[in-house]
C-alpha cells in the first residue's frame, strides 16, 4: 500500500470515527441501552421481594386486578414511606413535573418557553405559601409533618434506585434527571391544586369587565347573584338558616340584601368612574394569573371545573343505610391526577384515591365512613385596587413600601411586589391590582385529610374538617354507618359591609374590585366553623352538591362573591332522587351515568316553537327540525339530535350574546352566558335586545345558519352523530399527543351529570372534551359496599397495560368493587 494513501485513509477514518462518536453521544436518547427504549421495561408489576432502604419492617403490597395497590404496614412510618415509594415507582415523572410547574421552575425543564408559566406561579405565590405551610406544620403539628416527611423519604428512596428511575419515559424525553423529593415538593403541589380550585379572583375581574362594558342593569339581568331557577336546588335545603342563624336574625331582609348593586361605591370603596378606568388593568391581571401551562385549567375562560356528589340518608335508601356518590370533574390527564390505594396499618385503614405526590387518601372510605368533595364556588380570593406611588402603596392615609421578591430565570430578571393584601398581579401607572387569596395562611389540609383517613364515625369526620383549609373551601359529602350530610369546609374570608340602610353585615367576597387603600374592605376573619353551610341527616332523605348555590338567600354570611354553576346537573339529580325514594347501588350508578341535559329539556321546546313558524324549509332543515322534535334530551355518541341542538344554540349565541361580547371586546375574558339566562330571557323578555328584539326570528336565523353549517362542514346526515363532533382527549402532561389517549367519541354534554363539556361554538371540529369525571365512586359503609372507577390506571408508562386499564370500564359507566378483587401481584418491600 502506498504510504501516502494509507496515511490519508487513517486520517479520514479517524475523523469519521470521531464524528460518528460525537453524533452518537448527542443521540444518546435513542441508544437502546441507555436511552428512551429502557422505558419499554417499565410500568409492569413483578411479584417478589424488593429491598427498600429506610423501612423499619417489611411492608406487604398487593396489586389487585383493577390496578389498585393495597399497602399493609406495621406502623405509620412504613405505611407512608411505602406509599411514597410506590407512588414514585408508578408516577415519578408526573410528580416531579407537577411540582416543578407549581414551584415556578418549569423553565428549568423546558427552557424559556416555560418562563410565562413560572412567572404566573411565582406571582400567585405557590412556592412562598408552600414554605410557609412547611414551617407551620413542622413547628405546630410535627406528627402530621412527619407523615409527609416519611412519604417524601419513600419517594426519595425510589429516586436513589437509578435503574428503576431509568424506565420513566418522561425524563428521557426531556433529557433531565429526577431531583431529590422533599416535603416542600408535596406541599407546593398541594398549593397548586388549591389554586386550581380557588374561586373569586378571576371571577371578580370578569364581573368588572362586564359591568364596565355593559353596565349594571345588563349585568344583573345576565348574571344574577343566584343563577335563574337555582334557588330551590341549593346544597343545604331550605332558606339558608344554618344552626339556627340567618340573615333575618341580623335584622336584614334577604330580599333587600340581594336587590342591592354590589358594584356601588358603598360596597367596594371604588367609584363608578374609577372602576371604568380599570378595564385594561383588569385585562392585564386576567392574563397574568392565567397559567399558560394550564394544568388543571380553571383560571381561564374555558370550560369551568365542576363536580357531582350526593348523599342518601337512611330513610331514602333501599337497605336503610346511608350512601354517597362522588365524581369530581377535573382535567382528564394521562396519567390521572389520582392514584388509587388501600392504606392499612394498626392505626388506619382507608381505601380510595389520593393525589399523586401527596400522602393519604383524599376521596375514599374507611370501614365505617366515606367522604367525597366538590367545589362550592364562593370567593376564597378577593382582588383589591391599590393606589401606588413608586414602590409604595397607600393604606389608611400612609404610603407603605411594598415587599419585593426578585427572581432571575433563564437570564431574565423580574420582581414581584406585594401590598398588605397580597401580590400585585397587575400595575398601570399609579393603579394596581393585588390579590388576597386565603392560601397566604398556612394550609392544614393534609392534617384534615389524614384525620378523615383515620375516622370511624361522623363526628370524627367533622372534627377532621375543622382543620381543612383555609384553601380551598370544599363541599364535603360525608357518610357514616348511620349518618349522612354535607359541610362546606375551609376558610371563607369575611368582609365587613355597611348596607345603604345603615345595617352592618359580614359577607363572603365581592363581585367587584375592593378598595385596597383602606382597612374598611380588608378581610376580617373567616366564617365560623359552626356556621359554615352544613346539614346532617336531611329530612327529605337526600342532598346534592354539583356546584350549584350552596345555601339559600337567608344565609347569615351572604356569598356576595359567588359564581355558582348553572344548576342543570343539580336539577337532574334532584328530580331523580325525588322519584327514587328507595335508592339502591344500581340507582346510584344509573344517576352517575345520566347524560340528559336538563336545560335542553327547557330550552328545546322554546326553540321548536320558534322554528315551527318557518316556511319553505329545505330538506336538511326539515330533517334537523325532526331531529330536534324527536329528541329525548340524551347525549349519546350515536345520536344525531344533540349535534343539531349544539349547533343551533351555538349559532344563536353567535348572533346574540357572543356578538355583543365581541363588540365590547370582552369575549376572550368573560364566561359564556348561562343557558338558564337565555331560557329566562326567552320566556320573560322575548323582545330583549339581547335577542335582537325578537327571539323567534333570531332563533330561525340561527337554525338556518346552523343547518347550513352542518351541511357544508359535516356533509350528509351520516356524519351528524354526536360522537363524530364530540370527542374526548385525555392529554399527557407533557403535551405530547402520542403520550395521551384519544381523541375518541364520547357521550355527555355541558350540563349532563356524566359530563362532556365543550364550548358552545359553531365550529368543526369542536375542541375536545378535556375535563370530566376524574373518578367515580359510590360508597355504602353500612353494608361494606364500595365501588369505583377512574379513566386511567396506576402507571404513567404509556406502554404499560396499567396505564389505562380502567378506561374501558369508565367509558362504559361500569365500576370495580373496591375490595375482594383477585390479586395480580404480591410484593414485599423489605428493609
Amino acid at each position: 500500500m502506498n504510504k501516502k494513501y494509507g496515511t490519508i485513509l487513517i486520517v479520514i477514518s479517524f475523523v469519521l470515527v470521531g464524528t460518528f462518536s460525537y453524533v452518537s453521544n448527542s443521540l444518546s436518547i435513542v441508544n437502546p441501552s441507555t436511552g428512551v427504549f429502557q422505558s419499554a421495561q417499565g410500568g409492569n408489576f413483578t411479584s417478589g421481594n424488593f429491598v427498600v432502604p429506610g423501612l423499619q419492617y417489611p411492608v406487604n403490597l398487593t396489586i389487585d386486578s383493577s390496578g389498585m395497590a393495597h399497602i399493609d404496614a406495621r406502623n405509620n412510618h412504613d405505611l407512608f414511606y411505602a406509599q411514597g415509594y410506590y407512588s414514585a415507582c408508578q408516577r415519578l415523572f408526573q410528580m416531579e413535573l407537577q411540582a416543578t410547574v407549581a414551584a415556578g421552575n418549569l423553565s428549568n425543564f423546558i427552557g424559556k418557553s416555560g418562563l410565562q408559566s413560572d412567572y404566573t406561579m411565582r406571582l400567585v405565590g405557590l412556592s412562598r405559601d408552600a414554605y410557609r405551610t412547611k414551617s407551620y406544620l413542622k413547628s405546630k403539628d410535627p406528627q402530621f409533618y412527619n407523615y409527609i416527611k416519611w412519604y417524601s423519604e419513600g419517594v426519595d428512596a425510589y429516586i436513589n434506585n437509578t435503574k428503576s428511575v431509568s424506565t420513566h419515559l418522561g425524563f428521557h424525553l426531556l433529557g433531565i434527571k429526577p431531583f431529590k423529593w422533599t416535603v416542600y415538593d408535596s406541599l407546593v403541589w398541594e398549593e397548586y391544586m388549591s389554586w386550581s380550585l380557588a374561586t373569586g379572583s378571576t371571577n371578580v375581574l370578569q364581573s368588572d369587565l362586564f359591568v364596565n362594558a355593559l353596565g349594571f342593569a345588563n349585568y344583573s339581568q345576565i348574571w344574577p347573584y343566584y343563577p335563574y331557577y337555582t334557588e330551590n336546588v341549593t346544597m343545604i335545603p331550605g332558606s339558608g338558616t344554618v344552626n339556627g342563624f340567618n340573615l333575618t336574625d341580623q335584622g336584614i331582609s334577604p330580599s333587600y340584601f340581594w336587590s342591592q348593586d354590589w358594584f356601588k361605591e358603598w360596597a367596594t370603596g371604588i367609584s363608578g368612574a374609577l372602576l371604568r378606568n380599570t378595564t385594561s388593568l383588569i385585562k392585564d391581571a386576567c392574563q397574568n394569573i392565567t397559567d399558560p401551562y394550564n394544568l388543571p385549567g380553571s383560571h381561564n375562560t374555558g370550560s369551568p371545573i365542576g363536580s357531582n356528589s350526593w348523599i342518601i340518608a337512611s330513610s331514602h335508601s333501599s337497605d336503610g343505610v346511608p350512601m354517597l356518590a362522588n365524581d369530581p370533574h377535573l382535567p382528564l390527564l394521562a396519567p390521572s391526577l389520582w392514584i388509587e390505594f388501600q392504606l392499612a396499618d394498626p392505626h388506619l385503614n382507608v381505601t380510595g384515591w389520593g393525589l399523586a405526590g401527596l400522602p393519604g387518601v383524599l376521596i375514599g372510605h374507611t370501614k365505617s365512613t366515606s367522604f367525597g368533595l366538590t367545589t362550592p364556588e364562593g370567593n376564597s380570593a378577593n382582588d383589591y385596587l391599590e393606589s401606588l406611588s413608586g414602590n409604595s402603596y397607600l393604606y389608611n392615609g400612609h404610603y407603605i413600601r411594598m415587599s419585593v421578591c426578585n427572581y432571575t430565570q433563564s437570564g431574565i430578571s423580574y420582581s414581584i411586589y406585594s401590598t398588605n393584601n397580597g401580590p400585585l398581579i397587575a400595575r398601570n401607572g399609579n393603579m394596581g391590582i393585588s390579590m388576597n387569596w386565603n392560601a397566604r395562611n398556612p394550609s392544614t389540609d393534609l392534617i384534615s385529610e389524614i384525620m378523615l383517613d383515620m375516622s370511624s364515625n361522623y363526628s370524627q369526620m367533622l372534627d377532621a374538617l375543622q382543620y381543612w383549609g383555609p384553601a380551598p373551601p370544599q363541599n364535603f359529602a360525608l357518610v357514616s354507618l348511620h349518618h349522612s350530610g354535607y359541610i362546606t369546609a375551609g376558610g371563607y374570608p369575611l368582609i365587613n359591609e355597611t348596607l345603604p340602610n345603615g345595617k352592618s353585615v359580614k359577607v363572603v367576597g365581592s363581585v367587584s374590585l375592593l378598595n385596597g387603600s383602606t382597612s374598611q374592605y380588608g378581610e376580617n376573619g373567616y366564617v365560623p366553623f359552626h356556621y359554615l353551610p352544613q346539614a346532617v341527616n336531611p329530612v327529605r332523605g337526600y342532598m346534592f352538591a354539583p356546584n350549584q348555590p350552596t345555601v339559600g338567600k337567608n344565609y347569615p354570611y351572604p356569598f356576595v362573591g359567588s359564581y355558582w354553576s348553572t344548576g342543570g346537573r343539580a336539577e337532574i339529580i334532584d328530580h331523580y332522587l325525588q322519584n327514587h325514594t328507595k335508592m339502591s347501588i344500581q340507582n346510584m350508578m344509573e344517576l352517575q351515568s345520566n347524560v340528559t341535559d336538563y336545560w335542553a329539556t327547557q330550552f328545546n321546546p322554546l326553540l321548536l316553537m320558534a322554528i315551527s313558524g318557518m316556511s319553505n324549509m329545505n330538506l336538511s332543515e326539515r330533517e334537523a327540525f325532526k331531529l330536534l322534535s324527536d329528541w329525548n334530551y340524551s347525549f349519546y355518541e350515536t345520536m344525531k339530535n344533540p349535534t343539531v341542538y349544539q349547533y343551533v344554540t351555538a349559532a344563536l349565541y353567535r348572533i346574540t350574546f357572543d356578538r355583543v361580547y365581541q363588540e365590547k371586546k370582552i369575549y376572550n375574558y368573560t364566561p359564556c352566558v348561562y343557558i338558564n339566562t337565555a331560557i329566562y330571557l326567552a320566556r320573560n323578555d322575548p323582545q330583549s335586545s339581547w335577542f335582537n328584539d325578537n327571539f323567534s326570528s333570531t332563533v330561525r336565523e340561527a337554525f338556518v345558519m346552523a343547518v347550513s353549517f352542518m351541511d357544508s362542514r359535516l356533509g350528509n346526515q351520516s356524519n351528524w352523530d354526536w360522537g363524530h363532533i364530540h370527542k374526548l382527549e385525555i392529554a399527557s402532561l407533557t403535551g405530547i399527543s402520542d403520550l395521551g389517549i384519544g381523541p375518541m367519541p364520547i357521550w355527555g354534554g355541558r350540563h349532563t351529570v356524566s359530563v362532556g363539556s365543550v364550548p358552545r361554538l359553531l365550529e368543526y371540529p369542536l375542541p375536545c372534551v378535556s375535563i370530566g369525571s376524574s373518578l367515580r365512586t359510590i360508597a355504602r359503609p353500612g353494608t361494606g359496599t364500595f365501588y369505583g372507577v377512574f379513566p386511567g390506571g396506576p402507571s404513567e408508562n404509556v406502554l404499560s397495560y396499567w396505564f389505562k386499564n380502567q378506561l374501558p370500564f369508565w367509558l362504559n359507566h361500569k365500576y370495580y368493587p373496591m375490595q375482594g378483587l383477585p390479586t395480580e401481584v404480591k410484593i414485599t418491600y423489605e428493609p
Binding site: G6, F20, S33, A40, Q41, I736, D738
Partner: protein
C-alpha cells in the same frame, strides 16, 4: 483462516459486551481492533455488521410493540419515522465500528509495510 475466525469472534464478543455493559456506541472502536487482520474491504464490512447487530440485539430484551411505540413517540417529537428512531443508534454504532476497523486495518497495514521496508533494506 482459522485465526481470522477467532479474531472475528473476539470482535463480536467484545461488541456485544460493549452494547450490553458499557452501553455507548463509541466503545466499539475497541471491538474493531481484532478486525485489523482482515483486508480493508472486509474489515469495514464486518465492522459495520458487528457494530450494527450488537446494538440492535439490545432490543431483544424489550417487547417489540413497546419498541415500535417508543419509536413512534420520539419520531413524532423530532419529525422522523419510527423505524429511523429504532435503527439510527445501531447504525451509528455500525458506522463507528466500520471506520474504526478501517482505521485499525490501515494502521496495521502501515506498520506491516514499515516492517517489510525494513526487511528489504536489511536484505539489500
Amino acid at each position: 483462516m482459522s485465526h481470522r475466525i477467532i479474531y472475528a469472534v473476539a470482535s463480536i464478543l467484545m461488541a456485544v459486551i460493549i452494547a450490553f455493559i458499557l452501553k455507548d456506541a463509541y466503545y466499539v472502536v475497541i471491538s474493531a481492533i481484532p478486525l485489523a487482520v482482515f483486508s480493508k474491504k472486509w474489515a469495514t464490512i464486518y465492522g459495520l455488521l458487528i457494530g450494527f447487530l450488537s446494538f440492535i440485539s439490545v432490543y431483544l430484551q424489550y417487547p417489540f410493540s413497546s419498541i415500535e411505540k417508543i419509536g413512534t413517540i420520539v419520531g413524532s417529537i423530532i419529525g422522523l419515522p419510527s423505524f429511523m428512531i429504532i435503527l439510527i443508534y445501531p447504525l451509528l454504532a455500525g458506522l463507528i465500528s466500520a471506520f474504526a476497523a478501517l482505521l485499525w486495518t490501515s494502521i496495521y497495514e502501515m506498520s506491516n509495510l514499515k516492517g517489510k521496508k525494513k526487511l528489504v533494506k536489511i536484505k539489500s
